[in-house]
């Protein structure tokens, strides 16, 4: 069944395939750690995908494109922040609104950009290192964003675990009333977390349209944002497990594409629905067993905060 598929290449391509969901998942993890459930990841990703694509095509610079993608995602997430933190709107409904609006707006913005090739994102030049068999392919032949995604995981882990800012963020997510009583600005911290999550989702989206596909079509993210949300649950809100989860899903995606290309006897439709089915399966495993996922979730997740005084 695996005949003709080089394991080194497979690992290398699963790392690339997992970058969008990894960025989005790490961003959402921070948002949820601050006690906010933003279901608009899909909308923010696709906004990042279209704004990143437009910026890269107009400027000719992939780096500016990724910055534009992050900005696009952050701007959309600001809408969510205003709705939930200022207007006290329901977080689930606001997140859904964000996704519906993002899907519409992105296809509006991307109208003149269908069928255009974006500028190529070059690999990091590691010189002779990239020629080492297997290790070179797996570790030293990627574009900068692949390394940045792993660095983002490490950074979020370090900040959440070892810094005062991380501690405050977690306090806000566990008990906003207690954090407020201690004098922390609950809503300001949450808005910042939401903006970070939006920027990360936008970055992931830009990676889809600039590297993974690379072109612009409507609905290009195809549910990656929802898978990122599932990965946060899978990861039990721990950054390194999010990396593991993203690589696992990247692996499934790459494997099913390879199987399709290799002319597997399994019908194409079954292969292309497999990432979604496996996501469900993983959610079931992680959530069952005396509510383990529920236990590690931040205690104030999804609840709005309104200071009585």
């Amino acid at each position: 069944m695996f005949g003709g598929i080089d394991p080194g290449l497979l690992i290398a391509s699963l790392m690339v395939a997992s970058v969008p969901i990894l960025f989005a998942a790490v961003g959402e993890l921070v948002v949820e750690k601050a006690g906010v459930l933003n279901l608009g990841v899909e909308g923010m990703m696709i906004m990042g995908a279209v704004t990143g694509f437009i910026t890269a095509v107009q400027t000719g610079s992939p780096a500016l494109g990724f910055a534009g993608g992050a900005l696009g995602g952050a701007v959309l997430s600001l809408l969510f922040a205003v709705l939930t933190q200022v207007m006290q709107a329901n977080q689930v409904a606001s997140g859904l609104a964000l996704t519906l609006f993002g899907l519409g707006l992105s296809s509006l913005l991307g109208q003149g950009f269908v069928g255009i090739k974006p500028p190529l994102t070059p690999d990091v030049p590691f010189g002779p290192l990239a020629d080492i068999p297997f290790i070179g392919t797996v570790l030293f032949s990627h574009d900068p964003l692949v390394y940045l995604s792993v660095l983002a995981v490490a950074g979020v882990w370090a900040v959440l675990s070892f810094t005062r800012a991380g501690l405050v963020l977690r306090a806000v997510g566990e008990s906003h009333d207690a954090a407020h009583a201690l004098g922390y600005k609950v809503r300001r911290i949450r808005v910042l977390a939401i903006l970070f999550g939006g920027a990360m989702a936008g970055l992931g989206g830009a990676y889809v349209s600039l590297v993974r596909v690379p072109q612009w079509t409507d609905g290009i993210t195809a549910g990656a944002g929802w898978i990122a949300l599932a990965i946060v649950v899978f990861a039990s809100w721990k950054p390194w497990r999010a990396l593991l989860g993203a690589w696992l899903f990247g692996g499934i995606t790459v494997l099913q594409l390879n199987l399709q290309a290799a002319g597997s006897r399994i019908p194409v439709e079954y292969l292309s629905m497999s990432p979604y089915l496996i996501t469900i399966l993983v959610l079931v495993i992680m959530s069952s067993g005396r509510g383990r996922a529920a236990l590690s979730a931040p205690a104030s997740l999804g609840q709005n905060f309104h200071a009585a005084r």
Partner: protein, 364 residues
């Protein structure tokens, strides 16, 4: 020196006036913001708004377009009624689009299996199969939620993508028209009277889906106002702990609400595929399952409100198509417009739950 800040005070109970007034306010704000968006796109905002909201009802082609209103509102209302029950109880089924597709496939499969038999029993059998198909698809997230505590939002949504793949399989494989020269898509139901869902009154746009939607509105109204189950649904949403003390089983309620929503979405799919769409094809679904979420909220999760919201949303669909052909407004603009409506609605809800008070603050 000092300044004036706006202070929010939580109301002891939601304001009845504002809960009725916010949808109207949100529509007005959306028209303003939408007009701005159209102006940025280089269109005359007044002309665009008139084309979307006025012309379909009173314009030159109103005689045809008014009928289209019921065609589009039917599925939206039918799905939104089902969703609203769950949303009230705090059960977030957002995969109605998948249940809609599966209902259409199951119902159409029964009809196509009977082809070319002529019998009065075929259409009712298809209706039952459609409802069962949607119900079964909704049971997956419901049972995973009650048995394994899995998040129903994510599972129901993942299943939309799975349903879309099943739809692709159906229209290119097991339901493909054997006389269709290899083109994807099933037989067209308009050529098979026993299984078709035609207009009931010529020119009105009313088909069995519209009738079912009206029946659902009445049933949901009675359920919520007069039945113990409606009380339990409302109680679980507002005070889950109190509901448990009152003996409401959250498991049973989840299964029931998801089941009703799935069955209604499946029905909507079946009526659509046998009527306006005519056949199973890869893209016969146009996102009613997602737009119905906006309809449910815009209607304040209230059956009568949903009926009005469904008609309004249908109007934006038809007006959006008109604006696309007459003014060259991109068709995606209307999707953004609908999303915007939900934003404004959620934002305006602040006025329902909070009192906004200007407070004079001393400078420190």
């Amino acid at each position: 020196m000092g300044w004036i800040v706006l202070k929010l005070e939580k109301r002891p109970s939601p304001s009845v006036f504002w809960s009725r007034a916010t949808p109207v306010l949100a529509v007005a704000l959306t028209m303003v913001a939408g007009g701005l968006m159209f102006a940025i796109l280089g269109k005359n905002p007044f002309e665009a708004i008139r084309t979307i909201f006025w012309d379909p009802l009173f314009g030159e082609f109103a005689w045809y377009l008014r009928g289209q209103l019921l065609v589009k509102a039917g599925p939206l209302v039918l799905i939104a009624i089902g969703l609203s029950l769950g949303f009230r109880a705090g059960i977030w089924n957002i995969g109605a689009e998948g249940q809609y597709i599966m209902g259409a496939i199951c119902g159409a499969a029964v009809g196509l299996a009977a082809y070319p038999t002529e019998s009065r029993l075929i259409f009712p059998a298809m209706v039952i199969a459609g409802a069962l198909g949607g119900w079964a698809w909704a049971m997956i997230p419901a049972i995973l939620k009650t048995r394994f505590n899995t998040n129903e939002i994510l599972v129901s949504l993942m299943l939309v993508y799975v349903a879309q793949t099943v739809l692709a399989m159906a229209s290119t494989g097991f339901l493909r028209n054997p006389e269709g020269a290899g083109f994807p898509g099933s037989r067209n139901f308009s050529g098979y009277p026993a299984a078709a869902n035609p207009e009931l009154i010529a020119g009105s746009g009313l088909h069995w889906g519209g009738v079912a939607a009206l029946a659902a509105v009445v049933a949901a109204y009675v359920l919520l106002q007069r039945h113990i189950l409606g009380f339990q649904i409302k109680l679980s949403g507002q005070a889950p702990r109190a509901a448990r003390f009152a003996g409401v089983s959250p498991q049973k309620l989840t299964v029931l609400c998801m089941g009703i929503a799935g069955a209604l979405a499946g029905l909507a799919g079946l009526f659509e595929v046998t009527g306006p769409a005519g056949q199973i094809s890869i893209d016969f679904n146009v996102g009613y399952g997602f737009t119905a979420i906006i309809v449910a909220f815009l209607g304040r999760l209230n059956p009568v409100g949903i009926l009005l919201a469904g008609l309004l949303m249908a109007l934006t669909y038809i007006g959006g198509e008109m604006a696309a052909t007459n003014l060259g407004l991109p068709s995606a603009a209307i999707q953004a417009f609908q999303g915007m409506l939900l934003f404004f609605l959620l934002a305006c809800d602040l006025l329902t739950n909070y009192r906004v008070r200007p407070v004079f603050k001393e400078a420190r």
